[in-house]
């Protein structure tokens, strides 16, 4: 490190070269990270079958065409489009809608269940407190995959296979979300509860009308994380949904990727278009997301 006798100015110039190197490294890393997405985006303007058989060309001499996106949006602009393109486009947007509905429902229900248990754990002293906290940790240390097959049988028996309920219900106890809420709520003043009681609020009124609004930032960050997880979730929904009409976007896209596929145009444009909602949410709520995600990593 520079000696103390150095003036700030010489320190500044001594740091210039390392600073360029460090910033340059991140430029390089970001270019590498952006590359597959940029290549994919360019590929979505080339004939799908060529892309799937030969790879994504970065050759700028071959022209970029809008055909893939015409096929993707054929449902909305059917004029002059072949029938199978319209059917494909209808399927795509049906999957898109299914994913949106599933994601919104998952987020609302998961957050409610997790909020209330975290609220009880951090605001009340009751008999099950310690035991339930232990269970939250226990659920974290069992991989979902071992539950997958018995769960599959169970939801078949319960008759909720091929339904949104079958996807959502097994995921309600999200340990990470409970942790986050609990951590957030321990920093809130508990006098609020007593103040609420004095004002004649019931216990439930306090939880919903007083504490929930204060916890809004925690809701925001967990909502985004949960939404991303749900939008991109694939393994479990793939088992639950049997019917093409129920498929989520991820499962639907996966079915387009057959060795003998004739839907590669739709696949490549649809994949790029499938990132967009998540990307928009991310760019708007980026700050909340990083807070929500990393909190567990700091306190351990």
């Amino acid at each position: 490190m520079a000696k103390n006798t150095n003036t700030p100015r010489t320190m500044e110039s001594a740091r210039r070269v390392p600073s360029i190197l460090a910033t340059g490294l991140f430029v390089l890393v970001c270019l590498l990270i952006a590359f597959p997405l940029v290549a994919g985006f360019l590929a979505s303007f080339r004939p799908g079958s060529e892309v799937v058989t030969k790879g994504m060309s970065l050759d700028f001499h071959s022209p970029l065409i809008l055909d893939n996106y015409r096929i993707l949006f054929a449902k909305f602009f059917p004029k002059g489009m072949p029938d199978d393109a319209i059917v494909g486009s209808k399927n795509y947007f049906m999957w898109y809608k299914n994913s949106l509905i599933l994601t919104v429902t998952t987020v609302v229900l998961t957050l409610l269940v997790c909020y209330f248990i975290a609220y009880a754990l951090s605001m009340y002293k009751f008999k099950l407190n310690g035991f339930l906290f232990f269970m939250v940790i226990a659920t974290m240390s069992v991989p979902f995959e071992i539950l997958m097959l018995p769960l599959y049988q169970e939801i078949t028996t319960l008759g909720i296979i091929n339904t949104n309920a079958g996807v959502i219900l097994p995921g309600l106890c999200a340990a990470g979300t409970i942790f986050f809420f609990k951590q957030y709520m321990t920093s809130l003043p508990r006098e609020l509860l007593d103040a609420g009681r004095v004002d004649g609020c019931t216990e439930y009124g306090i939880a919903i009308k007083i504490m929930m609004p204060i916890t809004k930032p925690a809701f925001a960050s967990q909502a985004i994380l949960c939404a991303m997880g749900s939008w991109n979730n694939m393994l479990w929904p793939m088992l639950v949904f049997r019917d093409t009409k129920k498929f989520t976007l991820q499962i639907g896209l996966n079915t387009l990727l057959t060795p003998y596929g004739n839907n590669y145009d739709l696949l490549i444009a649809g994949s790029m278009f499938g990132i967009i909602p998540i990307l928009i949410v991310y760019l708007i709520f980026n700050r909340y997301l990083v807070d929500g995600m990393t909190s567990g990593a700091v306190k351990g």
Binding site: I33, K54, F116, V142, P150, L151
Partner: protein
């Protein structure tokens, strides 16, 4: 207010009402399948019913060549992802938080983006880059050196370069952000007193950053062990379905899926799942003892 209603609204009962949905969902969708899963691993499950077979499935697993391949692939993948996805993101985070790096926000924003893509989409992108076709990016690089196109995904080590790059592409930024959050929680005064004692850059990293970052490192290692061992979809997407040439992409969960869903041999598949759980728990237990997070023979304070 009636007596029952009064009780329902009392401070004694309220917490139980709040935790009721959690408890129900825990019992029905966690405990029940966990117990049935473990029981089923000792049973033959057919359409006709269940038949107790004791430890027969486990004995068969020991002999099962494909299960051996799956376990070694999964463990190998987990170890390699730990080697790649702990030190590199940690160093990037240290560099990111140093005064040297400019425009930090931009890099952090971009580096997280791969984690937003689903496995279907990221898998497709990497499949195409590692395509055996002439336009695949890896083949374009080969062509630069005058080499012919190569079927990258059909040989184990070249395919695994793709698999690991896919994993690095998605998670380097995320893990870096974990470490950045960990670094932010370290009080700056610790570094200042280190500087007064004449510590150089490496010493500050070795004796201040590394020990104080331990909770974060333990957390990231723990989730990476679970994620690495239960990897399945990446391989599923890269090889388009659950079968790769010579099983180079077969993982434990892939095998569980194959036996349970594709072959409907639930009992055997559940035994695979139980073994997965045991491996994961043992590795994490060892890790937590080795890092001193759990102290053996001492009470934690």
């Amino acid at each position: 207010m009636s007596k029952a209603k009064k009780l329902l609204y009392s401070q004694k009962i309220a917490p139980y009402v709040f935790v009721l949905p959690y408890i129900l969902s825990l019992l029905i969708f966690w405990l029940y399948p966990l117990v049935t899963g473990i029981l089923m691993s000792f049973q033959n499950v057919t359409f006709g019913g269940k038949e107790w077979v004791g430890t027969a499935h486990y004995a068969k697993l020991l002999q099962d060549k494909f299960f051996g391949i799956a376990v070694s692939n999964s463990v190998e993948y987990m170890v390699l992802t730990l080697v790649l996805l702990i030190p590199i993101p940690m160093l990037l985070a240290v560099l990111m938080e140093s005064r040297l790096t400019k425009a930090k926000g931009v890099w952090k924003l971009i580096m997280y983006i791969p984690a937003l893509t689903s496995v279907v989409i990221s898998g497709l992108l990497f499949r195409l880059m590692f395509s055996e076709g002439d336009n695949g990016q890896m083949n374009v690089i080969l062509h630069m050196f005058g080499q012919p196109s190569f079927a990258w995904l059909k040989t184990k080590w070249t395919a695994w370069v793709g698999l690991l790059l896919l994993c690095m592409w998605r998670w380097t930024g995320v893990n870096m952000l974990y470490f950045v959050a960990g670094l932010k929680s370290i009080d700056n005064s610790v570094y200042e007193s280190g500087e007064i004692d004449g510590a150089n850059g490496w010493q500050k990293f070795r004796y201040i950053t590394l020990p104080l970052l331990k909770p974060t490192t333990v957390y990231v290692v723990t989730i990476s062990v679970f994620a690495g061992l239960s990897m399945f979809l990446e391989s599923f997407m890269l090889w388009n379905g659950n079968s790769s040439p010579k099983n180079i992409g077969l993982t434990i969960v892939g095998y569980l899926y194959k036996r349970g869903i594709e072959k409907n041999d639930m009992g055997y598949a559940c035994a695979v799942g139980v073994v997965l759980m045991i491996i994961a728990l043992v590795i994490n237990f060892i890790q937590l003892i080795a890092t001193g997070t759990i102290k053996v023979g001492k009470k934690e304070d």
